[in-house]
């Protein structure tokens, strides 16, 4: 595989990217996709939320799971950062606390792929504080 060194290289990769996209069942509607929101206030970032988000972005792509990963404001659970809200299609959103990389891996494998419950859920009366 050639290394992407500049924009020209990126341009040349279009075909490969196109065919990779076609391999997936494409759903255009966000509600059909897994949605992940990572809380991203300063305190979250200091406790590792950027790297948690990066892990989700990289790994969901590698494991071929269609998802939308976005940042959101402080969710108000400062004691349990990084916090992440995960919404699997047709299920209620769930907030997980202390999501470091191993936890994120577990969430992908067990909760998102396997539909099993995993530890670390923050019980809600959930009110979004932004």
């Amino acid at each position: 595989m050639t290394r992407v060194k500049n924009l020209d290289d990126l341009r040349k990769m279009r075909d490969q990217l196109q065919s990779k996209t076609n391999l997936r069942d494409k759903s255009e509607k966000p509600e059909d996709m897994v949605q992940i929101k990572v809380a991203m206030a300063t305190c979250c970032i200091a406790s590792g939320s950027r790297d948690t988000m990066n892990f989700f972005v990289d790994e969901l792509e590698k494991r071929n799971i269609e998802a939308i990963v976005t940042q959101t404001g402080c969710m108000g659970y400062c004691y349990a950062e990084p916090t992440v809200e995960v919404t699997v299609p047709e299920k209620e959103p769930i907030i997980f606390g202390n999501v470091d990389t191993p936890k994120a891996d577990e969430i992908i494998e067990k909760y998102i792929k396997g539909g099993e419950m995993v530890d670390g859920i923050i019980p809600v009366n959930y009110q979004k504080i932004d």
């Binding site: 595989m1 050639t2 290394r3 992407v4 060194k5 500049n6 924009l7 020209d8 290289d9 990126l10 341009r11 990769m13 279009r14 490969q16 990217l17 196109q18 990779k20 996209t21 997936r24 991203m40 206030a41 300063t42 305190c43 970032i45 200091a46 950027r50 790297d51 988000m53 990066n54 972005v57 990289d58 792509e61 590698k62 071929n64 939308i68 990963v69 976005t70 940042q71 404001g73």
Partner: protein, 193 residues
């Protein structure tokens, strides 16, 4: 905050929250003036003059003002600890501009950290914002913007599978080329496609 990459990622969150559609980030590692400088500007909704004086002293106040936040006070503190400076200007409904400098070889200067993750993530997870990144060292300059990338990609979108890895690779390669200070170097692309 551990490193400059995290500070940048954090300060850009302010610009995103201010609904900016353009965010410019320039880094200059200047060995001649012995200065590491970071400039961040956005066209978001700005800060009213009354509040602007307070955005950096929140650190010294108590919990009641915690709403004002920690991001900018921490950055200012880190700059001053390494003999640098912090300056912020803002115009309501026009945007915000900030420059922070650090003495390059000061022992207390935070390390640059993982700039590949910072910029890779900022660009790929905010495709609706034009992020304009430039980085200058003694060895050269690197420029990259969301617009450059979307132009090169044509009808492929930034968040399609495979693109993220390539963008990170591109950033890593070019930062390496200008010998920019950064942690992670992505030299292995064997599992890209």
């Amino acid at each position: 905050m551990k490193d400059l990459g995290l500070h940048i990622y954090d300060v850009v969150q302010n610009s995103i929250r201010a609904e900016a559609s353009e965010i410019g980030i320039s880094i200059n590692e200047d060995t001649i003036s012995n200065m590491y400088s970071i400039q961040i500007q956005d066209n978001g909704k700005g800060i009213e003059p009354k509040k602007l004086n307070h955005v950096t002293d929140a650190f010294y106040t108590t919990r009641k003002t915690r709403k004002v936040g920690l991001g900018l006070p921490l950055l200012k503190q880190n700059a001053e600890l390494s003999n640098g400076q912090f300056e912020i200007k803002s115009t309501l409904n026009k945007g915000t501009w900030l420059t922070v400098t650090f003495e390059l070889d000061h022992l207390d200067r935070p390390y640059a950290g993982d700039l590949v993750t910072t910029f890779g993530l900022l660009i790929t997870t905010n495709p609706e914002i034009n992020i304009n990144y430039s980085h200058k060292t003694t060895y050269g300059e690197f420029h990259l913007s969301t617009k450059n990338i979307t132009d090169a990609l044509g009808n492929i979108t930034i968040n399609q599978p495979g693109v993220i890895t390539m963008i990170k690779e591109l950033i890593a390669y070019n930062l390496e080329k200008i010998k920019a200070e950064t942690t992670k170097i992505y030299s292995d692309s064997s599992n890209v496609i």
